[in-house]
Symmetry: C5
Subunit: 354 residues, 5 copies
């Protein structure tokens, strides 16, 4: 485990709204992509540093500014100033340990989401933060790490696929949220396969390593839950915002993405239940096995310990032991021993131990 | 287990409302049945491909279009166009991993249900999706797989049994939902019998296989719950819709079907509790048994190990062991051994181990 | 267990409101008792078959029709027609697997309750259904099985005890519900005594049978809960109905019966907690006992196995074993053995095993 | 345990509001204390039997009638008549198995509370019932058993301490409720100390008796919870009543007592969690210990059983066993045995058993 | 443990609002710091005893009175009188076992918070109480123990950092609450590291001490929860208060601190889940290990016990045992024994015990 939470205490004592870039993590330059489109025109630009964005903001076209990396304080400050964002919004964007949430600032809507990244080789599950700002004719998106989750949306805008070019910024914001939620399904499926293969191991040959893996999966479910449960409220808050920011026609799409979040939550809860069941099964299998081991030990010991005692008796060196001199003692003793052993076996059979 | 969820990630990145037929699953042609009736007239027709449905839609009679199979994109598109369905509705019909839900689209109501199929030989529980669209004078029903769940309703229409021919499309939709919920009772009864026979096994002779079966039953309960819990909200949403789509006279019937869904949920929860109790009982039985095994081992070992030691003593070959030469040593030793053994038995009796 | 739910699937496919008499269960004739009273007059009549009840309905006196047995379809149909009951009400009366509920049909109130019957010899808990219909000046009561639960109410009417003769049908309905809830207390007390005696067994001498009994009690609690939890809603729904059907003066009595249902629910939950605690105690007692058994085995084995080994050494037949010839070997060996044994005992004492 | 609930079934079948004195329990005469005060005057009187109370009721001063013992039906009836109480209120006062509750009867407020009595010697927790009736200028209090819980309040009235003499009956009622809630803290502290000493036992030397005590404490927590959880609703109901019965100035005090009930509930829940943790700790300690016992047994047996076998080999009496005649056999054998034993010990060390 | 709750019973019987200084705990003089500021002026003063504060109260500047230590009754009384606080507020400040809460007294808002202090060496978690009173132009803060939690706020006022000097008393109160919540993150991080190192111990080498530590951590989580859960309501109550006391511009900051409390609660719940998982893992590891121990014992005993019996047989001293005289008996017997031992090993291999 080591760390469930990022350095949360770093900012204790600073005034609210102070931006602290997480510079130690990433010194790569921040990449800014600006896409500007309406039904007819389309323009895409990449910028290393932030330039004056006022013209963009004031154009009637839909402007999407995507920022990969949130560690450069000046980039965030410039953008915040240009689009009139509250200092607390910038702080939440820079501080990547937010809980998913939707906040309504009147002129714009601020949405925080988590994106999951499941490494199938190590089985590690890491989360990244994606923040969205939805304004009247612009969408800002901030990704903690560069990733391809928005590529499909970008393609749809470029190639004018679907209805995205015909609609406004609220639809673009919806499309981005939808892309993030769709990404959960990919992760969930990978985890589902992992769970399935664990279960096969469990039934075929349960080993302590299987137990360890189940525990690790359960741990990951705790993290997943933390990212997934608030999603419902996020989409709800988005939908509740209403016109003029969120148009009536977009609401049916938000309802659809809401259904998807419920499916995601359902899936996480189901995996949790399944993993708990697997843990129980493991423990009862171990218990069963112990029982079997004990029975073997008991059968062997119970049959041979008394016989060994009898053999010990006639191994004693007393001078006056009449049986020792009798001619049929030895075969008779064998007979007695065989009878004792057989009746023991019969006793075990009756107890259903054999 | 292997797969709890159908391929969910397939559509990630596509624009919402894109139809992806699950063609790999079923290449059989889609079967469309059209039933058109009012109190006096009745007409039934089967069609392989979708034909123009506009005349049907505009007739004042009640029209029920049943589609078996949702894998042919063009069939869904044609119907959707004719009845003016939202692309997201068509997507939800085609994508058979929806959660049960009711959605109100103003002109029509969209209902998604799950149907259960319990195979008693393998003990497998599979789910299929049934989607309903209730319009002012039509009902569309889509079944993932062809099945007989609606046969009884069809018969009642054909033979004009009950009040169905006298009432409108909302009653027909109710009758279809009721048929699906009634079908749950059949499945629950089969599962109930399975649980009962498992329990008898458990009391008579608990084996590791019994444990495995209990775990499988618990797993199925997880799936069942997922299908059953949202049902309540589905029927509620249907009832809340109110006139003109859902007439006042139909509400009492919807209340009845609501009661049934509560009974179904109750039954599933009861089975869960019963199965948990059985698991506990199994584990304590195993524990009891282990205890009994241990006691047998301990009694045998505790009686004979000291006696064997004594026999070992007089099996030693020291030249100067005075007891060896005494005449009554041997019978005396037997006496001592019998006394030791009996006092051990008395000790065990006092401890209630015998 | 075998059956938690009555045959629920029998009616699948039939139109709603179809009456299916549970004839296989009971072929005895249905017994109908009619009591008609006001403050001054009182009349009681028993009828085997249903007669025309219109005169009763229209009289201003309070009419109580009690039906023992719900398996004769025609009796229910006649009464339903006479008092204008909805077909679904009749279906719910005949189908005795309803959940307790209150339904408001405008002109009358329909109440379903469960009555418990605890057989102290077998420890079996069975439930029966009681349905009530409260109209402006009549109460219909239907009992699945003939039983004495309403005898006290009948006596109070006959002997004009309390205020019952002075009040209206709503008070009569309250009195019947109160009689059913009071009956729960009788059952709960019997179960409480059973739980108490189980607990004494558990503390004095826990046996596998005790475990079995605890599990059976827990199972019964599952059934009890199913009957008891919805009670609260039933009484609430009754009270919510308000005038003119439920008069203001009756509400304080309904509040009282509501308090009783809360007490019943509390008691059931307490028993559940107590039984869970007993199960835990049983398991830990078994665990403790196993521990004690293991310690005895370990002490005996650990003391004697090394001593037996030493004796075995000097039982070897090597020709050149100098110790064998020494004169003090034998007593010296005894000394060594006693010292080894005593130090073992000291070791166990330090470990607190003795 | 034996009895969790007082005889509840005794009254089944009687009309509501029938008073059944619990005479078998207590035949001592009921003690009635009447305190009548306003800011200037103060009068206290003790009465054995109930006298006419009408003058008291009609005086503008605050009248507090305290009744110790609720088993004399006529006393309750007289008081009830005089102050115009509903028969159900009298029934609830006499029947001391009520759940804590507040009921609003318009003219007066009826409050039921539980008082706890923890006997530190036996560890028994018993509950008594205290009922309060708050009228415009009077407070009636009924205690199941005579007790000193109200002594402090009485002193404050007598000595005109605090603001009690200046305020009205609602403040007096608050003071009585506050006295009862404060009494919980005393009980909780005693239980807390008990829990603390149990925990020390658990860590130093866990014995089966410790387990038994933990289970008894858990049982008592079940009883405590039943008394404590409804308290919140009681105080809430009191506060909600509003003027004229509960004056605005008293509400801040009720809020204070509400906070105390939350603290009491918190404490009970915390003790429950702590006791559950202790149970887990006990079980894992037993499990650990068993493990240790098993390891000792296994080490001893695994070292000596093979050695004993070897000794047994050379104790055989075959005529042709060449080793027996060799001169260095015996010391060599010792060498082999020591090596075997040492390698066993090394094996155990590697397994971390030693 | 010993004490979960501070002496709660001490005040039982006293009139509400009675101040009882916790003098036994701390006899150090109470330290009072007064900071008075507006955008331009700034004044700071330290006082040992309370002086007349009326001038402060009436100045339009923001006045912050911080009191370290709540055990001197007269200091509290003086301040309470000067600022017109309700006696119950003073009682809650002095009695440091309050639950976190916000209470609205019309003119001022009273907030109780808990501050955590985690001692990493002993692993002890202790809580202190911080009470805030927010008036129109003043804030009073009371700390149970002197501590540095407010130092950063004080610095920001002194150095006019951030917006604090420009805003009113509500912002100051927010800043103090924020400082307390930020402090939780510090504690949570320390606990998180502790949990992480415990987990490493658990995986590398689980010892009974690890178990003990996990239990202690779980216990601390119970305390943490008690302090943390009500926080949400506290901040909510603060925000709900609205103007004029809490200005509109402060609400966005309160929302931010609300998000932080949710993060704190999330973290505590996550740690609880993680610790429960660790406990399960510990127990299953112990179970696994026991299983392994048992297998070693069983293998050794099962191989050698029968062989020892055979050796015992030929150690008997019967005069007529033909095998003893045969020439190849001894090597043959070795052969038999080796075969028996090998087949045993094969058996264990098949059972997957080796």
């Amino acid at each position: 485990m080591v760390r469930f939470f990022k350095k949360m205490s770093k900012k204790a004592g600073l005034p609210p709204g102070t931006l602290v870039g997480e510079v130690e993590k990433d010194t790569a330059p921040v990449k800014i992509t600006v896409i500007d489109y309406d039904e007819k025109s389309y323009e895409e630009r990449t910028a290393q540093a932030s330039t004056d964005c006022r013209p963009l903001r004031d154009k009637p076209t839909v402007t999407w500014v995507n920022v990969d990396g949130v560690h450069q304080v000046d980039v965030l400050t410039d953008l915040g100033e240009c689009f009139g964002l509250h200092p607390l919004v910038l702080e939440d964007i820079a501080n990547t340990d937010q809980r998913p949430k939707t906040e309504d600032f009147g002129d714009y809507l601020f949405v925080v989401l988590k994106i999951l990244d499941y490494d199938r080789d190590t089985g590690d599950l890491s989360t990244g933060q994606i923040s969205l700002v939805l304004g009247p004719n612009y969408v800002l998106s901030f990704q903690e790490r560069e990733g391809g989750v928005f590529d499909a949306v970008r393609d749809r805008i470029r190639n004018s696929k679907g209805r995205i070019r015909k609609l406004q910024s609220d639809y673009l914001a919806y499309a981005l949220v939808d892309a993030v939620v769709d990404n959960y399904f990919v992760t969930l499926e990978q985890i589902g396969e992992e769970v399935g293969s664990l279960e096969e191991d469990l039934i075929e040959d349960p080993k302590p390593e299987t137990l360890q893996s189940i525990h690790e999966m359960k741990r990951e479910m705790i993290i997943l839950r933390k990212s997934v449960w608030p999603l419902r409220e996020v989409v709800n808050g988005f939908e509740r915002r209403g016109p003029p920011l969120v148009r009536e026609s977009t609401r049916v799409f938000l309802k659809d993405v809401y259904d998807h979040t419920i499916q995601v939550i359902d899936a996480v809860e189901t995996y949790r239940d399944v993993l708990s069941g697997m843990l129980d099964l493991y423990l009862s299998t171990v218990s069963n096995r112990m029982n079997e081991v004990m029975k073997v030990l008991t059968i062997i010991a119970t049959i041979f310990i008394p016989l060994t005692f009898v053999a010990g008796i006639y191994g004693m060196n007393f001078q006056f032991m009449p049986e020792l001199g009798w001619h049929w003692s030895y075969p008779l003793l064998w007979l007695v021993m065989v009878i004792v052993a057989l009746s023991m076996v019969a006793f075990f059979r009756r107890k259903k131990w054999l």
